[in-house]
């Protein structure tokens, strides 16, 4: 029964599954789609009349309606407020997703980003009118270079995966400049999916490097795979099992000896920021997720920013534009000439994610070098506290210590009938967002927990206690409870198979009519 469409327009009482007449349950308000509202004659903005002017659109003028609903401001505010109340967020509670670094998003960042001097400047204004913006980019670049020990940084990539593309393109350009055709990239077996996807997008073929029984890259296997056709090796450090690659310098040496470059995925930088410099580990290129390590908000799926630090051998190939010091202050190099003559091209419009630069810089200035060092320390401490507290109730595939994230597998659920997925759904009813599940692929039924440094010990203790209790319930055979979870959320488990078999990717008037007819 369509309670939502009954709650608006012609209202008829009925109780359905909600147990209420309205379909709402206390503060859990059912909210229809924007398009399911009677809309003639309403508008949420007041626009002035256009001045008298010649119409120059001629035959190109739009004919016919677009089909957008008209809604007043109060209804819009209510609509989106209600939607927000169905979302879990960092502001709500612990969000222990592995390699996502769901740390607190400071509001100071938001205030700074909204200063008109940053928010209301056009990217193509004359450079003399945006020196402060260019200074922000330059200062952020400086922080990133000092923190990583790398001499150069490409600022324009819009996200981590975009940064990976940037780094891999720079590598390809560097080999091409030497006249070397190297078509293969070795990617750690445990890598995030963006790594092989990126390598393929740059025209490389991908070969996986296996992990050893200690959860680290198998150095001997990798050495056997290195050869004159290998352009680069892509690793994450700490890796996606939450472990520091103990042989990382040997790995780097082997990669360099083979004439290849060492790409490091910087998603896990939070474990070592302010304590260890990737340059000292032999890394040639690394993207940094400003929306992970440097606290810019995840926004429900972006926007992010993925600047890429580069070794001297790759620096000349960094994509345009370059922000540099010129005779009269900062300049923007937008052409592949002079210092930037080997730049491999451009990856997006304009200069980069300025809004995220301001936020990240505000965060770096707030923490400072000492604070950032403490960030890594507390992040690693929190993850190890979880690992140590749960190692008897759950099963960890690798011996600790871990770095900033703790990995468990599903052996503790063996013969219980309860899966990793079920544990995750039960956690939701307990008021926690689940950890990352089924990744990395190198262990079965992975549960990857990254608490971050902004969680209190009290929160961790509660989380640990809940996981202990759930693990015990799984052992006690309470399979049905797990299968049914979650039961306390705005929606229960959703039919993802149906969604993929018959994709409905937008509202249509026909779809609406069909649903109404079905009642």
């Amino acid at each position: 029964m369509n309670e939502w469409s009954k709650a608006i327009g012609n209202f008829t009482a009925g109780t359905g599954t909600s147990g209420t007449y309205s379909g709402h349950r206390g503060l859990q308000i059912e909210e229809p789609l924007l398009f399911e509202r009677d809309s003639e004659g309403r508008c949420g903005v007041d626009l002035p009349e256009p001045p008298k002017a010649r119409n120059r659109l001629g035959a190109h003028a739009r004919k016919g309606k677009i089909g957008l609903p008209g809604i007043s401001e109060p209804e819009i505010v209510r609509h989106f407020t209600r939607l927000s109340q169905k979302n879990y967020a960092i502001d709500t509670g612990l969000y222990p997703l592995g390699s996502c670094t769901m740390k607190h998003n400071p509001r100071l960042n938001e205030k700074m980003a909204r200063l008109p001097g940053f928010a209301d400047i056009h990217p193509l204004q004359p450079v003399s009118t945006v020196q402060g913006a260019l200074a922000v980019i330059d200062q952020l670049a400086h922080w990133l270079k000092v923190l990583t020990g790398m001499p150069a940084v490409a600022m324009s990539p819009a996200a981590g995966a975009h940064g990976e593309l940037c780094g891999m393109m720079a590598i390809r350009a560097a080999h091409d400049a030497k006249g070397e055709r190297r078509n293969k990239v070795l990617v750690a077996e445990s890598a995030h999916g963006t790594n092989p996807a990126t390598a393929a997008a740059c025209g490389f073929t991908v070969e996986a490097v296996p992990a050893n029984e200690r959860g680290r890259v198998d150095l001997a296997a990798m050495k056997a795979q290195l050869g004159p056709d290998v352009a680069a090796v892509m690793l994450t450090n700490p890796n996606t099992c939450g472990l520091f690659e103990t042989e990382i310098r040997e790995i780097a040496d082997a990669v360099h000896a083979a004439g290849a470059y060492f790409y490091c995925d910087g998603a896990n930088f939070n474990a070592i920021v302010g304590r260890v410099r990737p340059a000292d580990l032999g890394v040639d290129v690394m993207h940094i997720n400003l929306h992970k390590t440097f606290s810019t908000p995840h926004g429900g799926g972006g926007p992010g920013a993925g600047p890429v630090v580069l070794a001297q051998s790759l620096a000349p190939f960094a994509p345009l534009p370059w922000v540099v010091h010129g005779k009269n202050g900062f300049e923007v190099l937008e052409k592949a000439e002079g210092a930037a003559s080997q730049a491999f091209g451009r990856l997006k419009g304009f200069h980069g994610q300025m809004g995220m630069f301001v936020r990240a810089l505000a965060y770096m200035m707030s923490h400072g070098a000492d604070g950032l060092r403490q960030v890594a320390s507390d992040a690693v401490l929190n993850a190890n506290y979880i690992l140590a507290s749960l190692k008897d109730d759950m099963t960890a595939p690798f011996e600790g210590p871990c770095m900033h994230e703790a990995l468990f597998d599903d052996r503790f659920l063996k013969d219980t009938g309860v899966t990793t997925l079920d544990i995750a759904k039960a956690l939701i009813d307990e008021g926690f967002h689940p950890m990352t599940m089924y990744f990395p692929l190198v262990v079965r039924g992975a549960l990857l927990i990254e608490p971050t440094e902004t969680e209190s010990k009290a929160t961790l203790d509660r989380f640990i206690g809940v996981l202990k209790a759930l693990a015990a319930e799984a052992r006690d055979g309470k399979v049905e409870k797990f299968r049914a979870a979650p039961v306390l959320t705005p929606r229960r488990r959703l039919d993802e198979t149906g969604a993929a078999r018959q994709p409905v990717l937008r509202w249509t008037p026909a779809g609406e009519a069909e649903r109404n007819a079905a009642e």
């Binding site: 089924y438 993802e496 198979t497 993929a500 078999r501």
Partner: protein
């Protein structure tokens, strides 16, 4: 009298004279989960042994289906377009993917028989 052979990548091939029918095994279908989409080759397409012939997708995985032998496609199973769940319901029968004429029967030699395939599955658990 048709014979059935299997590949190590969990395809089955049922040979009836010069034409063979190819699908994925129930074991593979179960590992995939609910199948949501299948892409089958069109009639006339040339396939090479061991190379990609079709694609099967579930909610959480996407997998290539490889040609067990070289040949030319006679027919792709159009029923899978409307009802991909056929693969889950009847992987060995109605959930077939495509039929092809076999180019070289010698290529059947290194495929697994029923016993060998059952052994492979038992070892995977």
């Amino acid at each position: 009298m048709s014979e059935i052979r299997y590949t190590k990548s969990h395809e089955w091939i049922r040979i009836d004279g010069d034409v063979a029918t190819v699908g994925i095994t129930a074991f593979a279908a179960e590992a995939l989960g609910d199948v949501v989409y299948v892409e089958v080759p069109t009639a006339g397409k040339a396939l090479a042994k061991g190379k990609e012939a079709a694609v099967v997708e579930s909610v959480k995985a996407a997998s290539e289906v490889y040609a067990p032998v070289s040949g030319t496609v006679v027919e792709g199973n159009q029923a899978l377009a409307d009802d991909p769940a056929l693969v889950n319901r009847d992987a060995a029968g109605d959930g077939w993917f495509f039929k092809l004429t076999i180019a070289d029967k010698g290529e059947l030699a290194d495929l697994l028989d029923q016993a060998a395939y059952d052994q492979l599955v038992a070892e995977s658990h």
